[in-house]
Each structure stands twice: as structure tokens, then as C-alpha cells.
Symmetry: D3
Subunit: 154 residues, 6 copies
Amino acid sequence: MSNQVKQKNNFSMGKLTSLLVLLHNTELVKEVEQELDSRGYNYTVGKVGAMELSKVVAAVETSAKNNHIINANSYREVHALYHAILEAIQGVSRGTLQLGDILRTVGLTFSIVRGNIDSSGYGGEWISVCVYGTIGAPKKGFEHDALGFGFNHI
Amino acid sequence: MSNQVKQKNNFSMGKLTSLLVLLHNTELVKEVEQELDSRGYNYTVGKVGAMELSKVVAAVETSAKNNHIINANSYREVHALYHAILEAIQGVSRGTLQLGDILRTVGLTFSIVRGNIDSSGYGGEWISVCVYGTIGAPKKGFEHDALGFGFNHI
Amino acid sequence: MSNQVKQKNNFSMGKLTSLLVLLHNTELVKEVEQELDSRGYNYTVGKVGAMELSKVVAAVETSAKNNHIINANSYREVHALYHAILEAIQGVSRGTLQLGDILRTVGLTFSIVRGNIDSSGYGGEWISVCVYGTIGAPKKGFEHDALGFGFNHI
Amino acid sequence: MSNQVKQKNNFSMGKLTSLLVLLHNTELVKEVEQELDSRGYNYTVGKVGAMELSKVVAAVETSAKNNHIINANSYREVHALYHAILEAIQGVSRGTLQLGDILRTVGLTFSIVRGNIDSSGYGGEWISVCVYGTIGAPKKGFEHDALGFGFNHI
Amino acid sequence: MSNQVKQKNNFSMGKLTSLLVLLHNTELVKEVEQELDSRGYNYTVGKVGAMELSKVVAAVETSAKNNHIINANSYREVHALYHAILEAIQGVSRGTLQLGDILRTVGLTFSIVRGNIDSSGYGGEWISVCVYGTIGAPKKGFEHDALGFGFNHI
Amino acid sequence: MSNQVKQKNNFSMGKLTSLLVLLHNTELVKEVEQELDSRGYNYTVGKVGAMELSKVVAAVETSAKNNHIINANSYREVHALYHAILEAIQGVSRGTLQLGDILRTVGLTFSIVRGNIDSSGYGGEWISVCVYGTIGAPKKGFEHDALGFGFNHI
Ligand SMILES: [Mg+2]
Ligand SMILES: [Mg+2]
Ligand SMILES: [Mg+2]
Ligand SMILES: [Mg+2]
Ligand SMILES: [Mg+2]
Ligand SMILES: [Mg+2]
């Protein structure tokens, strides 16, 4: 296990963000959370199901604000998060940022992580968003996996 | 640990594909591989670094053929894989399928998984592709995480 | 005329699908239908007028299901058709999958064809969708021709 | 046959343009050409195979100029044609205007038609471009049908 | 000042269109208007705030018709303007033609200019649209500048 | 004139950035520069002509580094500028980030401005990029105006 922890020390913020959502609700996520805690990162995980893209954007934004990942009164921080969300949604929707307009719906779990990255050149804080779940027809089971990731300086 | 295995039995093909690439070169990936093996899935992991998108597409295609994930002589299978690759690349490039044209380069690890999904309605075989790595300026360290995922029937 | 039939034997599934919709409601379409019948292809033609893209997608999907071109209980088949529809709509909307959002409306006739393609490498069944009609302002006559085509393995 | 001709009188410029390319090299195309001639339309048909999109654009442009569909010395006409070509290519490439960059190649036949449309409100001349052929891997037979259409005032 | 006027004589239609909206409500715009007048150009300036893209398109179209920049009864002119508007909106929305769907709103000023361009090859009339304002969250101050420009023959 | 200056105090950073490039090489730009200076903003103006998009991106990046608008050794700053450049280029290319691939070339002047914005919520530094010039066929005079704008926190 100590070997695993050592490995996680090499994990980038983006990899940890992705594992946080992919391992959500499993035992394994605890190690991811411990690593995030040890780095002093702020993070949260939430869920949203919608046929309207605006609800997905709103759910991630609201979660980030309510869990104090970003300061809701700072446009600067809201702007950084917003573009990270758009990037993540592009991975989910692949090619066109649309859900109900093209008759599909999503059921998603998302993670948001914020913190300092020490690598030379990086400096300051960064924010990453990972979205994982299903996309498909508005009919139970007629859907498949979807995954998206966004990253920005904050 | 047995608890973890049970959880993995609930993991979708897409989640396993994503973990296969995200946990690559760690101890944890063994459990993912065991789960893939127990389901009789075919899979492989490869790497590619490039400033030309065509090299990324070619690397994933070649890896799938050389590792017998798809039959290189079946256009049907090549077509299924090709569209899954394009979907995955859309997550990496977010908005425009371009690398060198807009002065950026990637260093990516990719996983390809193929197998039956038994859920009602699904039937037959599906293929999923996950791509994880870095995207950024052609200068060491001036890059950030990127992640993409594609899924198709085959 | 026998010459024409011989020529049609060389027509690809995609060409027949396109002619099926372009020659709809003319005498000439009968030869196209005969060729489709002789190959054992399933096909149908329908119409939809809408300012909402979701209605276009739904109309093609419903027509394919009601006319038994695809099995509505197979997600695999629904998935194949869905991506073929999206491809076809991209030809109609050229650049952005939007109608009412950018104040335009469509009046479309569509064809759906499914069947085996025997060419070496192809194997199995494929599905193609062609959409032809008008796109333009929501004002009679203030519109022009539009055409789109999608193709997928099924 | 006279019935067919009567029907063609109801064919829009766009439908005639599409049939001109789809029926190319068949007996049936003669009736399409007769109808185009009877309306005083200028038209041409050409071919291009390429892995570089710029060659496709150039082939259509050059054909239009060499066959006097447009006046090569009028930027106004070149501009009208150029945007019609881009629209047509969007139908062929579906989602991203790329060929070799994403490792695919095309073998296309294209038609260009120019002329007056008399419908109320239309006035003046219009130009339409239809592109039909195959798109796919750079390997014989590993390709499928593709179709695109563009339309503009000139 | 005569020097400034001389310079404006070298300004392209597009530059004048852009300055018309950027200098709106300032003293400086008078010189831009004088230059437009001296060339015999038709122009107008309007405003629109919306979370629905269709309202933006409608506002520019309506303004162009009401101010006699285009003839509302000519589809040819409506078509030319429509594509110029779409181009301008692409600069504002950068990457996806969406506002409320991705939870953002705009407050825009737009200019529309129409007239002859005498440069060799150009011939005839052209139309240009410039849109300038703010885009952002539906919360006062949480928005930033946006600018877009479209150009077409008419 | 004092009236004009007062008005410029109300000009946003984005408006000043846009005017800096649109009024380049005219007398009027001096007032824009004075306003930028009075706010303590860093700025520069450059030119680039290219048929390859990567050269446009590189020219703006290099200019920003050489003129000390951004710190070339800070990935954080390079990342902020890079996304602002991509946004600006989207306005120029409208719909697809391509030049030579679709047989068009650009001759552009660009401005880059960086500085603090004091409005409530904004805080810290922001960067904006405006690109203005011509886009068209690789033939003198067969081109029209193009304009793009990008904005980011830095
Ligand atoms: Mg980035
Ligand atoms: Mg899918
Ligand atoms: Mg395909
Ligand atoms: Mg049009
Ligand atoms: Mg143009
Ligand atoms: Mg922004």
C-alpha cells in the first residue's frame, strides 16, 4: 500500500481529479482523497442528471460555490471555472455542446479540484473538472459511458 | 479487497477502460486487468507523442490491430474503432481537432477495450477508447492534463 | 432501361439512399425501390418540418422503428441509427447543429436504408440516412435546399 | 417519360445539382442535363481524390473557373463559390473540416450549377455545389459514401 | 483633423463597420459616420440583450429591415445578411453558437453597413456586421467583452 | 477633446484593445495609447501574414513574450495568453480554425493588452487580444476584412 501512496505522489492534479470521480463510491477513492488532502487541495464531488446542458453547467458551478472551491463573489474565479466546465462538457458531448436539442440526456457525476501546482513554471493555483457518467436516449439503459475533463489556471 | 472486486463487477466497460489508462504503471491497474480478464474482454495500452493528429489516430489504430483488438481486414471493425478514436480525441482537444496547426503537442497514453455487454438491449460487442496525457506548448512542462473517451458498437 | 438497371447494380447503398429521397414522388423512384428490393434491403421514407432539431431526430428515429428498419428494443441498433442521423443533420445544418436557436426552420424528406454490403471487408449490415429539403427563415419561400447524409455499421 | 420531364420542371436547382452528380455516368443524367439546359443554367461536373482538403477546395474552384461557371476575375463570384464549397465539404466531413489530419482520404465527384431562380423573392443568380463519393481510411475498400451540398447567392 | 479624414478614406468597409459600433455614443463616431455618408453607404446601429441566440439574430435582422439596409422582401438580401450575422456571432460566442444553453447571456451593440466597394474584382454591393458588447454569467458584472464580425456579398 | 478623453475613461479594456488595432497607424491611436498608459496597462501591436494558423499563433505569442506582456517562463501566463489567442482566431476564421487547409490566407494586425481591472468582482490582471486584417484566397485583392477578439484572466 505504501507503494501505491508513493505512486500517487506522482499523480498529477488532473489524474487525481479523474480518479476522484471514477472511483466515487468505492473503497479506493479514500486513497485519492488522502492524497488530495495531503496536498492541501480543495475538492468536491456532485451529481446531475439533465436533458438541458444549462442544468449541467449550473450544477457544477453551484457545487463549486457551495463547497467553497471557488469564491462566488470573484468573477475571476467564476470565469476560470466556467471555461474548465465547458472543456469538460466537450468531452462528454463530443463535437456539439448539445443534449436535449439532439434528443439525448445525461446522468453525470462530477469532481472539482483546486490547488497549487509546484512544478517549475506552473506557479499559483489551478482548477480541474472531471465529468463521468452516461449519455444517451431518454430511455433507461439506452445510453453509454461518457467522460470529459477541463483544466484552467485560477 | 474482496469488497473492491465486488465493486469492480459493477464497473461499466467505459469505467474500466478509463481506469486502465489512468492507473497504468501502478499496482492498482492489476485489479482492473483481472476484472477485464474475468469478463473475457480484449484490451491493450499504448503510448504516443505527436504534434500531428494523424499520428495519434494511426498509433491507436495500429495498436488495436497489432494486439488483435480488432480485425485489420474488417472495414466494419476499423470503422467502429475509427469513430471511437475521433470521439476520444475530441475530449483531448476540446473544440477543435487540431494539434500542431494551433501550435500544441500531446504526450498520450491510450487504452482500447473490446467485449460483450450483457445489459438488456445492449447485445453484442462494443469498443471503448480512453486517452489520457498532456497537451500544451512544444516546451517541456508547458502543458496540462487532457483526457478523452470514445465508445461505439462493433 | 435494362441498361439503367445494370447501372443501378453498381450503385452503392449510399447512392440508392440518396436517390430514394431525391426522387421521392417521381416515377423514377420506382427503379430505385426495385433495386433496393432486389438486394433485400429494408427502407422507408418520411417527412418532418420543424424549428426544433430534436423533432427532426425524433421523426427519423420513430420512422425507423415503426417501419421496422431497426429494432426499437436493441440499444445497439438505436445507437447505430442515432449517429447516422447526427451525421446527416450535419450536412443540412452545415457547421452548427442548430435550427430555431439561430432562427431557421427546416422542411425535410428523409430516407433510411438498411442491409448487407457484400464488398470484401465490409461484412454484415450497414445503415444509411439521407435528408433532403429546405432550410431557411420561418417565412414561406425564404429558404433554400439542404442535403445531408449519414452512414454507419449496425 | 414526358411525365418525368414535367416532374423535373418542379425540381429545385439544388435537387438538379444533386442528381447531376449522383447520376453521373448513367443514362439518366441526360434528362437532368436537358432540364438544366432548358433553364439556361451553367453547370459542370468534375472529380478529385485527395487526402488534403485544400486540394478538394482547389479542384472545385478551378473547375468552376475553367468551365466558366464563375468569372475568375470577380472576387464577388469567387467569394460566393468559396462559401458554397465550404458548406458542401461540411456534409462530407461531418463535424470537422479535416481529411489527412485525422487519417482519412476522399474520392469525390462534384457538380456546380449556376443560374437564375425565378421564385418570388429569390431574384438574381444562385450557385449550388454537390459533392458525392467516398471517405475513409487510405486503404482500398475501407471507405464509405459521403455527400455534401452547399448553396449561395452569387 | 484633415489628416484623420484622409486616413479614413483608406479605411475598409469592415474597419468602418467595426469603429461604428466601438465608438458608438462617443464624439469620435461622427467622423466615421461622415465617411460612411460620403461613400453613400447605408448603415444603422442597434442594441440587444438576450440569453437566447435567436433573439440576437432576430434583433439584427429586424434592425436591418426596419432601417432599410436590406429589402425585407428579397430573400437574396435576407440570405446575405443572415450568413453575415452568423459569422459575427461566431466571434462573440467563440466555438459554439450558444448562450443560455451554456448558461451565459449577452448585452450587445451591433452595426450593419451596406454599400459598394470599388476595388478591382470586388464589384457590386457588400454587407458587413459588427457586434460588440459583453458576454458572461447572468449576474451583473460577471461578464467580459466580446466582439464579432461578419462580411458577405449582397 | 477633453470630452473624448473622459469617454475613454469609460472604455473597457476590451474596447481599448480593439481600437488599438483598428486605429493602428492613424493619429487617433495616440489617445488610445495614452489611456492605456494612464491605466498602467502593458500592450503591444504586431503583424503577421500566413497561410498556416500555427504561424499566427506563434507570432502573437512571440510578440507578447518579446514585448514583456507576459513572462515567457511562466506556464500560467502562457496558458492564459494561448486561450485568448484561440478565442481571437475563432472570430477571424468563423467556424473552423483553418487557413491553408481550406485554401485561404490571412494578413493580420494584432494587439495584446494586459492589466488590472478594478470593477468589483474582477480583481487581478486580465489579458485581451484583438486581431484585425484580411482573410481570403491566396490572390491579391481576393480577400475581405476579418476581426477576432479573445479575453482571459491571467
Ligand atoms: Mg488549456
Ligand atoms: Mg454514441
Ligand atoms: Mg464513418
Ligand atoms: Mg444559406
Ligand atoms: Mg467570406
Ligand atoms: Mg471567457
